[in-house]
Symmetry: C2
DNA sequence: CGCGACGTTGATTTGCCTCAACGATTGTGG
DNA sequence: CCACAATCGTTGAGGCAAATCAACGTCGCG
């Protein structure tokens, strides 16, 4: 059951008691998402905090030339949302799109706030999740401002080997901030060595 | 009093009750930091979560050429720490250095965990703080991978006008990921218009 | 089958870096 | 209080990393 997977995931941080588990069950919605389906589009409000049970998503922004720039991937046991839009209720400038057929669990702001207020443990858990994601992003920013394209690519392969093998290089190029053509050239040069 | 400033800061998120205020008082340490003094150096463990009462800090990494790359600034009413090192107890790869003479309030991991366990409100507050910083970083990553140096500079000026006026351009260049020379050229071109 | 996503390669251009040199300013110790 | 060092900003010449543009082959999928 998808919900059990989520409970096991939470248990990595803090085990839940039965009351909390039941509250969760009642407030989450399970959905199947097809490949290329959007769970968030620009100018919409991000209505759900989404937990990926299986499959994979990308979140990206689109610039004035129409080019996509991947901000984040989310595969099994990861959360994805435009938190800014989710909490403020304002329109998002981002897209979240399924890269693979996926199963997700979703919670809306009202239900999440209910959980926070009635079971402070969730504040703790999501604090730690947010801190970990913050650390991850901080490392990425440092990479971006201090490394070459090649170094960023190698570092992506090391940090996310599983993800790298499921994604087309085009998507990785967009994530590390280079063109697909240049990534292809990097790969050729590295293969020769 | 510095501690009152922190309490007022917390009240933006959730007002504290007297018990919580007193607990805070007992667990924070006030320090004066001179310009150019470090509160974290590479290979040390980050022992404190630091709240800036007045003054300004930069956090940066140093690459194999010895060049500094600014990850974050922190001025009045902002928190700064290498959270990864702080929570894991492992050595940091970063530096935190005072750019101006500063006054700070610091808390160590044991005392912070005490607060989390005895007053869940702090879990909530620091969850929201972490989420906000996460959003900020996410925007920065998007900027980095989708904009030119000039756009990143303009965007820095808009987002942090006060900070921009107290920092030398060298520090801003390091933050947006370009050389000081090139930033100087950007400024000249923009001045002509 | 035919279209669209993906990867590849080459020619050319450009954004940004490197290095070097030079004033202006700040600050600091004698 | 002055002298000298360190920091900061500026400018120019030249080089390199990465983008752009265009063309082409492959593959999977509807």
């Amino acid at each position: 059951m998808p919900i059990d997977q989520l409970i096991a995931y939470f248990a990595q941080y803090i085990p839940l008691r039965d009351i909390e588990k039941n509250e969760l069950r009642n407030r989450l919605v399970e959905k199947r998402i097809k490949r290329r389906q959007f769970i968030l589009q620009e100018n919409d409000v991000c209505k759900y905090y989404t937990f990926v049970v299986s499959g994979c998503f990308k979140m990206y922004g689109v610039d004035y030339n129409g080019a996509e720039h991947n901000i984040q991937f989310a595969a099994e046991n990861e959360w994805i949302a435009d938190i800014s839009s989710f909490h403020s209720g304002k329109a998002s400038r981002l897209y979240i799109e399924a890269i693979e057929p996926s199963v997700v669990l979703q919670i809306d702001p009202a239900n999440l706030v209910y959980l926070y207020h009635n079971h402070p443990k969730f504040d703790r858990i999501f604090r730690v999740i947010a801190e970990n994601k913050f650390i991850e992003l901080q490392n990425r920013v440092l990479q971006n401002i201090s490394s070459t394209a090649d170094e960023r690519y190698q570092s992506f392969l090391e940090q996310y080997p599983k993800l790298a093998s499921r994604l087309p290089n085009t998507q990785i190029a967009s994530y590390i901030g280079i063109t697909p053509e240049f990534l292809s050239k990097i790969c050729r040069i590295n293969a020769k060595k």
